[in-house]
């Protein structure tokens, strides 16, 4: 009888791990590839910092998992999907890469996700934030680790709506990411009794935002929401202050990384609300890890970079727990874990690949409040994942079972 139970347990355990149990670690090495923008417009918010973050995660594991070495490789996809796809195929076919992380721009993420699914490898998105990866094209071997446009929009929009700012005007970058932000935010505004007074979609990248700002000003909307990113956001905020936007009207960037606030300066950014997955000065754990990061890069980590660290660390831990680096078994393990590290809190990985976790509602400090460099935000609220993440999209086949 006892033997029977033991036997059943053994069979069950083998079933969980699948045939991979016998494999252990493929090729005697766990390789993590960081596929990012090392030379283009996203290289400050992700770029080399993401590579360093992945290395920190590997170091934290002692450079080994299940007795096999962990190696971090990196490459520049130049924000072009065909280059990204090419690099990923080479990594999977020839260099034994098991997992690829980061992916600024959704087009590169979508391209590589598809290949990884075919080859049974893992992708973990950090700076890739479009909700499109959770819809029709969702993949069982993909995790959108750090954040998505819906959660970003929900955090900021709900806070402002609660403040009584009901009418909105969007300045949107005319590409997938901008549309995604605008659509997600509009839905939240409609659900919470607000209204969208108008939208200006500008070609990407834009240089002069004056006419959109003027239209937004003229619309009398309470909030001028910026559904764009990087230099576009910074330019729009800068020019809004030039035209004297303020007082009753609030400018709200729906996605701003700490690198953007750094480059526009507190004088221009002060008072703005924004939602982030991570802020280095949140608590002792985040400060301790960020100090390590700062030592190597002389910059504080952005949420995207910190997300790469958390994703890599959790991936390695899941391999350790699963006893194999087979993608299906690792993903199954990740879905059982509660993610809690220096970056991500209360994280649960959903079937469609969304990592639902706590987000931070931040407000930019006044220059006088800031005690030193990188001391930029007051944490106004911790938003639970359930509050800000979108419901599972029925278009994703993984949400059906």
């Amino acid at each position: 009888m006892k033997l029977d139970i033991l036997g059943a347990a053994a069979i069950a355990a083998m079933a969980v791990a699948g045939t991979a149990q016998a494999q252990g670690i493929s090729d005697d090495v766990v390789k993590v590839g960081v596929l990012t923008d090392l030379s283009g417009i996203y290289s400050d918010l992700a770029g080399q910092g993401s590579v360093v973050a992945a290395q920190l995660a590997a170091e934290e594991m002692g450079g080994k998992v299940l007795g096999k070495p962990v190696v971090v490789v990196s490459a520049d996809h130049q924000n072009k999907p065909d280059i990204a796809a090419n690099l990923a195929r080479g990594w999977f076919d020839q260099q034994q890469v098991d997992m690829i992380a980061d992916f600024p721009t959704s087009s590169t993420a979508l391209a590589v996700m598809e290949i990884a699914r075919q080859k049974n490898r893992v992708t973990m998105l950090s700076s890739g934030v479009a909700t499109a990866v959770l819809a029709e094209k969702c993949s069982a071997t993909n995790a959108q680790w750090t954040v998505n446009t819906y959660a970003l929009a929900a955090g900021t929009a709900k806070a402002l709506l609660k403040d009584g700012k009901k009418s909105w005007y969007f300045i949107t970058a005319d590409y997938t990411f901008g549309h995604s932000l605008e659509k997600d935010a509009s839905q939240i505004i409609a659900e919470n009794g607000g209204e969208v007074k108008g939208v200006s979609r500008h070609p990407f990248p834009g240089t002069d935002f004056s006419s959109f700002i003027l239209k937004a000003q003229g619309s009398g909307a309470d909030v001028i929401a910026l559904a764009n990113a990087g230099a576009d956001t910074v330019n729009a905020i800068k020019q809004a202050s030039e035209y004297g936007v303020g007082g009753k009207q609030t400018v709200a960037p729906l996605l701003a990384y700490i690198s953007d606030v750094k480059s526009m300066g507190l004088a221009k950014a002060q008072g703005m609300y924004l939602t982030e997955a991570f802020y280095w000065d949140y608590d002792d754990r985040s400060r301790a890890w960020s100090a390590k990061f700062f030592e190597k890069t002389k910059k504080m980590p952005t949420a995207a970079q910190a997300g790469v660290y958390s994703a890599t660390l959790s991936y390695l831990k899941a391999i350790e727990a699963a006893g194999t680096d087979e993608a299906g078994a690792v993903m199954a393990r990740l879905r059982q874990m509660t993610i809690d590290d220096a970056v991500i809190r209360n994280g649960r990985l959903r079937a469609d690949g969304a990592l639902v976790h706590d987000m931070l509602l931040l407000q930019v400090k006044k220059p006088a409040e800031s005690k030193r460099d990188w001391d930029f935000y007051n944490v106004r609220a911790v938003l639970s994942g359930a509050e800000v993440y979108p419901a599972p999209n029925p278009a994703c086949p993984l949400n059906k079972s």
Partner: protein, 310 residues
């Protein structure tokens, strides 16, 4: 058989061996080289042999890719792959006829500028249309079955297919260049007024060369869409148009082999530079400067010159 063709078949024989030794030359890399090589051959037909500078070639590459890809995504179960490719090539040729038809009315730098402007309009349409997937592009394009029979899904099958299409495209360009039509094109390149005085309707010849070049570029684009199973905005961007100039120039303008050598170099560089971090643009920029300043004939061109003088 000319020495060029003998060398070509030697190259084809070597290319056939590639899938058997993936550790020496990675087949995916080789397929990318073949696609871009064909693309550069098409461009060379125009710039090298007709003397026309086009900044619209990405529009042909990309539009054919989009049409082929969209057809395969929607109708892969009903049509053979060859139908989707032909539709792509026809689209590229049609856009080529429109852009070429407008541009040949002007000469020199103005010609180039009209192609640039019109290709930006194609890019704009690719961003705005829904069926092109906007900034996300098209992903997961099925490779389908050739004539409804041969399954192209496996990497080896698509490799063989790519090689066959490349050979056909290359031989077509070779044939055009060495035909009486090709000689007229060269006459126009060297001295257009003289060609006119000989009684040729040069505009018609230029337009025909433009459309042919667009069609072959489209063939490369359709093929690329199937090989990589994706099409993106990058394929219709000005960046790709300048890249093909770089390939052709680096390899050797107006030589049969130049575009292929240039394509191999640029694709290889891209792969290599991807790990180099933020120095990519600096290195590519330096290559432009050095190439234009010191090796204007390109690698193949300089080689031929050295052999001639030796």
């Amino acid at each position: 058989m000319s020495s060029t063709l003998r060398l070509f078949w030697l190259f084809v024989a070597a290319a056939i061996l590639v899938p058997f030794f993936p550790q020496i030359v990675y087949p995916i890399f080789m397929m990318k080289v073949l696609c871009y090589g064909l693309f550069a051959c098409a461009f060379n037909l125009l710039l090298g042999y007709t003397g026309l500078v086009s900044f619209a070639h990405a529009a042909f590459l990309g539009s054919a890719g989009y049409v082929t890809g969209a057809l395969m995504i929607r109708h892969a179960d009903r049509i053979g792959t060859e139908v989707a490719i032909l539709a792509g090539v026809a689209t590229a040729a049609a856009i080529g006829a429109v852009i070429g038809g407008l541009a040949i009315r002007r000469k020199g730098i103005y010609f180039a500028m009209i192609t640039l402007a019109l290709s930006q309009i194609v890019y704009f349409l690719a961003v705005q249309f829904r069926w092109t997937g906007g900034e996300d592009g098209l992903q997961g394009i099925p490779r389908g079955r050739l004539f409804g029979l041969v399954d192209l899904t496996s990497d080896n099958a698509i490799y063989g297919f790519t090689l066959v299409v490349f050979v056909a495209g290359f031989l077509l360009v070779h044939r055009i260049i060495h035909s009486p039509f090709g000689q007229i094109l060269r006459a126009i390149r060297d001295n257009e007024p003289r060609a006119i005085s000989l009684g040729y309707d040069t505009d018609r010849f230029k337009l025909l060369a433009f459309v042919l070049s667009a069609a072959v570029a489209g063939l490369a684009g359709a093929l690329k869409a199937l090989v990589f199973q994706l099409v993106s905005l990058n394929d219709v961007s000005l960046h790709t148009s300048t890249e093909v100039v770089l390939m052709t120039l680096l390899g050797g303008l107006g030589t049969i082999w130049g575009p292929l050598v240039g394509a191999a170099l640029v694709v290889g560089l891209q792969n290599y530079l991807a790990t180099l971090g933020d120095m990519v643009t600096i290195v590519i920029g330096l290559i432009f400067i050095v190439c234009v300043s010191f090796f204007r004939l390109g690698l193949v061109g300089e080689f031929l010159r050295l052999r001639k003088s030796a």
